[in-house]
Subunit: 397 residues, 2 copies
């Protein structure tokens, strides 16, 4: 399949658009894997980990089992590979891969792969279930900006839930946090909108392709996120969301956030699935309480009781989840919300270049330089030849 794809000038051109760089074959292979394997396919993940995406693709589609270990483990791997091939082959149609690349190029999506500067190392915690690649519309650098907080909840949210979601997300985004959510109606929509409303940044993980607005009622919201934030998906363009893909998408939301907060959820809400992933990954988990008389909060109370989630009632308490001290300065006092975001991206132990800080914070290098100058004057950061360093509170001017 790879030869057929790489022989086609249009495919290669599209691949170069969605991922600049020399390793075109790798990008095409990873793009092909997003087409032929469902999200979180651990056999595909192990095969790619062992052989690299191109060779794994050959192994997946040709009958080359020679690399398998001998004995019982080999037999198990052989069976898993046979089952994988049965899943993958029907989808291994070069034209589908071509179309995925072309559609991505058409909507200006980027392919982000492991090893890229914008590849979020946090997703590697998923092991063989980590995505093969991510399709991203908008600001790819946000995937590695920090801090990132995942905020999710029920589609059928109450007025209370949407109100609290917006308050928390707005406060956190104004203070520089990237708000990660799932683009759904209800809580997800409220947190995305609140983040954009304060001029902050947000990432929407979709269960289908990034070229499809799902839910359709969020078409304009998702378009705005694709410009001011990032719309991200594991399946390629043209893919419809399915129940499995929603569940698989949830693991990415849980893995990307440095903490996950469930704002409002019914007893069997899908957001408890995201919370379960966060807990499994060892990510701090918060739940916002609500009236015990409201079925919309029953899932949050369940998280407090059964998942040992932390009770969070304010943005400051959400920040405590990822161990960031609340310095009890409001955005007004700090003058600029990006200031917190910049400081969060810096280290008190090692010196970083302006470029590295820009990469970590998701701010432009120019903005970083001007903020650093201000923070330097105020004694919050120090500068040496090797770079910029954040000063511990005790040493600040």
């Amino acid at each position: 399949m790879m030869e057929e794809l790489l022989d086609d000038a249009g495919t290669v051109a599209a691949a170069r658009l969605v991922h600049p760089g020399d390793e075109v074959a790798e990008y095409v292979a990873r793009a092909a894997w997003t087409v032929i394997a469902e999200p979180g396919d651990a056999v595909a993940g192990a095969l790619i980990e062992a052989l690299g995406p191109e060779e794994a693709l050959s192994a997946a589609l040709d009958e080359t089992g020679s690399l398998l270990p001998p004995g019982e483990r080999g037999r198990h791997a052989s069976r898993a590979l046979a089952e994988g091939r049965a899943r993958w082959r029907p989808r291994a149609v070069p034209e589908t891969v071509r179309q995925a690349l072309r559609s991505a190029a058409d909507v200006g999506a980027r392919l982000v792969v492991p090893g890229d500067d914008q590849w979020p190392a946090a997703l590697d915690d998923l092991g063989p279930h980590a995505p093969v690649a991510l399709w991203v519309r908008g600001r790819v650098e946000l995937l590695v900006a920090s801090p990132r907080v995942s905020m999710v909840g029920a589609r059928a949210a109450s007025g209370y839930g949407e109100h609290v979601a917006a308050e928390l997300a707005g406060d956190l985004a104004a203070a520089g946090a990237v708000i990660v959510s799932g683009g759904a109606y209800g809580i997800d929509g409220a947190v995305h909108r609140a983040a954009l409303g304060v001029g902050g940044t947000t990432i929407a993980f979709l269960a289908g392709g990034v070229d499809r607005a799902y839910p359709v009622g969020h078409r304009r919201l998702l378009q705005q996120i694709a410009v001011e934030g990032a719309v991200v998906s594991e399946p390629p363009c043209g893919t419809a969301p399915t129940k499995w893909r929603f569940l698989a998408r949830n693991r990415l939301i849980a893995a990307l956030g440095q903490a996950t907060v469930v704002v409002e959820a019914g007893w069997r809400s899908g957001s408890l699935n995201t919370a379960g992933h966060a807990a499994t990954l060892g990510r701090p988990l918060g739940a916002v309480p609500g009236p015990v008389t409201s079925a919309s909060s029953a899932g949050c109370h369940r998280l407090l009781r059964e998942y040992d989630a932390q009770c969070v009632t304010s943005a400051a308490e959400v920040r405590e989840l990822w161990g960031q001290l609340d310095d009890s300065r409001s955005p007004d006092e700090t003058g600029d919300p990006n200031r917190t975001r910049l400081l969060d991206a810096m280290s008190t132990r090692s010196r970083l270049s302006v470029e590295e800080i820009a990469r970590r914070s998701g701010l432009s290098p120019d903005r970083v330089r001007s903020l650093l100058g201000l923070l330097h004057l105020e004694g919050d950061v120090s500068l040496a030849e090797s770079g910029w360093q954040r000063l511990p509170s005790s040493q600040r001017g």
Copy 2:
């Protein structure tokens, strides 16, 4: 002082009314201690523990320091005793003690002292801060009935708080739990009323004497509790509530309950003091969540965050606090709420007499006999010569 009190026929007659039995001198001495020492006076507690109430009273009021240990410990004890004497002597007026006994007899109050069948052993967990005696109006046997759950909360409760308080207390009381609270406006009043409303039982701990309705707006409620439940106080009749006495009273509520639940509380609510006592005593602590937008729930959320309180949203979850399995039978299914109360009072390990079960459950011996007959038919209990025993679920018919 004791001679003067015991020489007075009216005093002795009143003492016999408030506590039948032969040890009149002990009862009078304990009554005197409730007059001269403030609640929780650890020096008084240690002195009574060491010498018994009568001799302790002599030691407190006469200059007999001979029983003190020598050396540094003796000097410390000597100083503590000297300070105690300075506190106690101004109050050691026989007429005040006489008046306390007479007033108690007038309102039909009983004096309950350590060693009595109705003395709640749970209070002994308070060590030297345990009360010297309790003044009780109403059904003294409720002090040792089981299960007992303390439910407290803010005076300035919201409609939501009062609603949830009434729902939980009503459910628990209907299933046989004794609801312990502080008789205050707001949450306390709601739980007392709910317990009475379902024909259940409730105990109100007052900060002042049991002859005084405090708050006055709860005069009728407290009168009803003094008939159908129990109104209990550590200070004697005639004592006004003070801030210290409210705080000291809170420790009794926390100690008597087999679990404590804070239903609704502001950030600095006094009920957090009760919760703190419960936590210190190792009693299971529950907090009912509420809207994060409501200041009336901030104290409950604080308990969830800072005191490791369990989030409770239903009567079943409150029952889980004291380790009682929810057998998911509603009162309707069990036919009689007293059935649960009876089973709770029984043991699966030892056999008890009808009288002992009546004492533990707060039900009349006749009621116990008829219920036991029913439960025996249904295979929930077994009978042998040595008494009645609850059968483990696995062995039930």
